[in-house]
Symmetry: C2
Subunit: 431 residues, 2 copies
Amino acid sequence: MGNNVKVYKGNVIFTKTPQEFEQLEGGYIVVEDGKVKEVAQNLPEQYKDAEVVDYGDKLIIPGFIDLHLHAPQFPNRGLGLDKELLPWLETYTFPEEAKFKDTEYAKKVYSRLVRELWKYGTTRSVVFSTIHKDSTKVLMDLFIEAGLGAYVGKVNMNRNSSPDLTEDTQESLKITEELLQEYSDKSPLVKPIITPRFVPSCTAELMKDLGDLAKKYDAPVQSHLSENRGEIEWVKELHPDSKNYADVYDKLGLFGQQPTVMAHCVHVTDDEIKLMADNGVFVAHSPESNYNLSSGIAPIRKFLEAGVNVGFATDISGGHAISMMDVIAGAMKGSKMRWVYLEEEYASLSVPEVFYLATKSAGRFFSKVGKIGSFEEGYEFDALVIDDESISDLNPRSLPERLQRFLYLGDDRNIVERFVSGKNLPEPKVY
Amino acid sequence: MGNNVKVYKGNVIFTKTPQEFEQLEGGYIVVEDGKVKEVAQNLPEQYKDAEVVDYGDKLIIPGFIDLHLHAPQFPNRGLGLDKELLPWLETYTFPEEAKFKDTEYAKKVYSRLVRELWKYGTTRSVVFSTIHKDSTKVLMDLFIEAGLGAYVGKVNMNRNSSPDLTEDTQESLKITEELLQEYSDKSPLVKPIITPRFVPSCTAELMKDLGDLAKKYDAPVQSHLSENRGEIEWVKELHPDSKNYADVYDKLGLFGQQPTVMAHCVHVTDDEIKLMADNGVFVAHSPESNYNLSSGIAPIRKFLEAGVNVGFATDISGGHAISMMDVIAGAMKGSKMRWVYLEEEYASLSVPEVFYLATKSAGRFFSKVGKIGSFEEGYEFDALVIDDESISDLNPRSLPERLQRFLYLGDDRNIVERFVSGKNLPEPKVY
């Protein structure tokens, strides 16, 4: 037994596959050097001298993964949701993002965001900042300080934006590269990610050079795809020679040439779905945002059947809630409405499926960082301890029922411990 | 100035019409004998000696109204939502409801439910209990003790149910009438309501006699209408001679002959909508429940344009959340998905509209009790004081923006006082 072994006891529930829960009432998780060594119903003999932390009747589950959120939009959450995507960007989003030229303001907002992610048990996230280099560094340093895992992307945009958010192409590339140099190896948990905002705000020249940077620094890529019908029409006008929206990214080396996650994918075509599957592109499914901005309901069952990687996302602040529990429940509801109104041949999502998507499936996007999102051997011990007493009832319930109820009814009050890579994280400081 | 005058100061926001908010920053609400006398930006001279309770920067809004929930399903909330209506009833609902033969169990569950309604600021509600007389009395007495307003209905069901929930017709009518006699004048806040479960569980004979009882005791009526396609087919088989589902109720005196609220109305026909408008029938729109049980999205804009009365409902436990804020946000999201996928000619719902529906519009169902759901003169002072500091940001926001954010992000922690008919209610006791 190594020196860095710790054992956690409680009601352990997680998923290896989308089909069913793994569950151990009063089970043990053996953690060595921050990674899961073993999950067992009885404490294995060789660990009998290890320190055991007993969480009693509480649940122990993998931490949540948010595959897409806009950190600077944190102040706007819950506002302006009577608009569609493009007018909402103009009215609410761009004016707020322009404020992040000021690193003091950035530190205030970002530290509050990071604390909120911690509160709601989002242990890993994939994040847009703004175009501003210094504020992006503030955000990355705050994630490092908090001990939370994140890919953080300085946004690139050099067309069709407000003047104070329109970059010079060479300057945009230069500071992107500086951040890649400075942060690629600074922390095992927090890494840079290449972040063209979306096709309408980046020229082909900028996007192509960003694709080259991604390759040069072996960095992942994030952007938006097919969120809204108006946006799709616009991309068609801007790139009349491309087969479709996804094809624009693909031709420029930004569609799975490196690990890539695309937010939304609400209205993608069958050709685009095939390309996503072939290229291993991840969908950051943001159901609450897609309802709020009148975008639609992404065809998740269709993605899964086509072999596309799927995870969930809040999309703050198109999505109002930072809680991944709300997003998971939102995804289930939306899949049912697709089934009722759009395509009876695609079944709605089950509880083990949505939990799997929110943890192990999304976790695969972090393959360069480690194995994330499960309690199988070798996975980083990213975990939440859940006290569901306040949402319990007078009847005994199974672990899957208790987890299901937590997803539908739970909030930050039910999350009593948060671990990332084996470290029990204290509440992050707010500035 | 009368003796029973109290004045409340704060950021007052409410609706007189669906089109816009009435708002007074640092305004005054003058309350006399539990009713709103006046809302004013400056304290009127004649009240200058009255006691003023100053809520500072907090919001003061009307209390929420839940037009449809099943009290005995409180223990099941957040469970079994991978099923459709009819199998869900068999598997989860009926076994739980059978337990309410035991008044001790009922008191435990119902006192927890009443406390939860209080917590989340639901000041008036329209409630199904079970078939059991004594447990129904327990529930009514708990509402009276808490000071919350409610219509509570002993459920009637004499066919197509599990054996322990199938009543003898005469016995069902007898105890329904006993409750009407005992409770019609017992409390100004809590009243009985005639409650045939839904067409499939009541014979025409039972429904007709219930319609007569409603008339005899001048009692309102609640039931379910067109929630789910399977259910609608079943009603068609049971009543082949009826024009449609609504027509079954109408012919038996249960469709607006007394004030009537019908839960769901997801798949109603144009003929049914016209009948609802003509008869003044209320829709208890339960969006979260309708998503959870794969029912659909009710056509709220269409109802409003046809002149149908609409309010919102949690439908515990088809709906998982007791929070009317969640229901209101859920209604907005659903109206947007209808607009995207089903009918571009019907605009989605705006924030003032949904707030109006949740308060003043729903409040009209309580016309026999008083004027409910607004701060206009003569309305019962049903109010919530909202401390939104925990969900605020670093920017100044208008009152409508703060209210919108509370609807999307707030929870019970943001509700710091709850008034019903002028009385500030303490936390209800749990047994």
